[in-house]
Amino acid sequence: MADAHNAFVTRVEIEGAAEGPLSGATVAVKDNISTEGVRTTCGSEMLADYVPPYDATVVSRLTDAGATIVGKTNMDEFGMGTTTETSAFGATANPVDEERVPGGSSGGSAAAVAAGEADYALGSDTGGSVRCPAAFCGVVGIKPTYGLVSRYGLVAYANSLEQIGPLAPTVEGAAELLDVIAGPDEHDATTHNAGASSDYAAAATGDVDGLTIGVPTELVEGADDEVRRVFEGALDAYRDAGAEVEDVSLPSVEYGVAAYYVIAMSEASSNLARFDGVRYGESGGFEGNWNESFAETRAENLGDEVKRRILLGTYALSAGYHDKYYEQAQEARAWVRQDFGEAFADVDVLATPTMPVLPPKLGESVDDPLQMYLMDANTVPVNLANLPAISVPAGESDEGLPVGLQLVGPKFGEETIIDAAALLG
């Protein structure tokens, strides 16, 4: 089958069990999730030929549930990007408008679902990488509470922030997929008993009568006018359905992007040290000693954004700068967590635009890294606070581009956000 949007790095067909809740369904899997015997590149030249000897827990759960895996999807290299343009396998196009990016880093997963090339997809969300492409491609994406879904077999970028999450055309579909992958796993010590016998799909009713929705003003003020117009329209739909909408303030989120990037880059600088061209990764065979060979392997096989994050993470952890950047970022993370905790004492869910901007054109945002990082302002606080969030299509801009609504819930409050999101999709 032709892949008009470059949504896949590798096409496969992995048959699932004969019967199960997902029998007959096709699922596309992000290419940083390990599949036994099928190369798993992370969108990087470094792992172009890496073939995992085992399946990620979520992959076994999909096939046990009867799903057929139809391919490994394109992504920003190692998950580092907001547009799926940093992939070593070329950019993915947005099926809604092929001149625009699909969002990232799980852009291939969102594009595959939006184009109907798979019924469902899995992505991973470290700072918005499921929700952003869901919003830009007009599909639904869920970032689960930290610990709800096993990360065993997910190639790590920033362990303390990331979760695997589902993408689907509808809220109910995404919830159904979450039911299959959620629950404890002996191979991931950070997993939790919540989700062991979940029925999130049954929660997707759209009943919001009496629900209290908080709107953090800090995360609305910075959004584009078109995004705000669609967002306000969605809030009206909630009011009409019996929900109460009130403004709340989360002063800590102004520091979210800085805190997120310091922590994510620091963790990345350590995690990506394993790609040395000796145990796996492109070798090597370079002249010189270990350090020289290692430095050359990484120079040749890692892309620009990945190097930038490794270097900045190394800087933030280095002698003389650790307290100034890393310690302060952890302080900000604690503040964000506290701010959300206080907000949920008064409201049931929080609503924001998922992305403050419409999908940019391909090539438009790659040359200004800080500008790209600031696009993540509304999604990263959720990862810092380890909370669940869903992005659901809220409507379209004047030019017909999709706008996503993000609903954030308290820890393990997946049922609440799924129920509320089902009003729109």
Binding site: V278, L311, Q338
Partner: protein, 92 residues
């Protein structure tokens, strides 16, 4: 104004620590970008002290031998191996 003017020497130093070889074009470009990005990170200085949640505690379990990847599977992706070991460049 930010006090994080990052010069080329600092970029070279951190690239050396991170074991990433850079050419001179990279060094200049990264120096400019790092100044801007670190300038943004410096806003973290305004973050107040927060009463942190209680420290996490270690959860222990008995150490048991279980099945795992065999040696052959573990070496499958290594560019070079010898006698069941990874083979790398000389250390110094």
């Amino acid at each position: 104004m930010s006090d994080s003017t990052v010069d080329a020497d600092e970029v070279r130093h951190v690239a050396d620590l991170a074991r990433v070889a850079l050419d001179e074009d990279d060094v200049g470009r990264y120096a400019d970008q790092f100044a801007e990005i670190l300038g943004h990170f410096e806003t973290l200085e305004e973050v107040p002290d927060v009463e942190a949640e209680p420290d996490l505690v270690n959860v222990m379990r008995p150490d048991e031998v279980t099945e795992s990847l065999d040696q052959e599977a573990a070496l499958e992706n290594a560019p070079e191996t010898e006698d069941g070991f990874f083979k790398g460049p000389k250390v110094s």
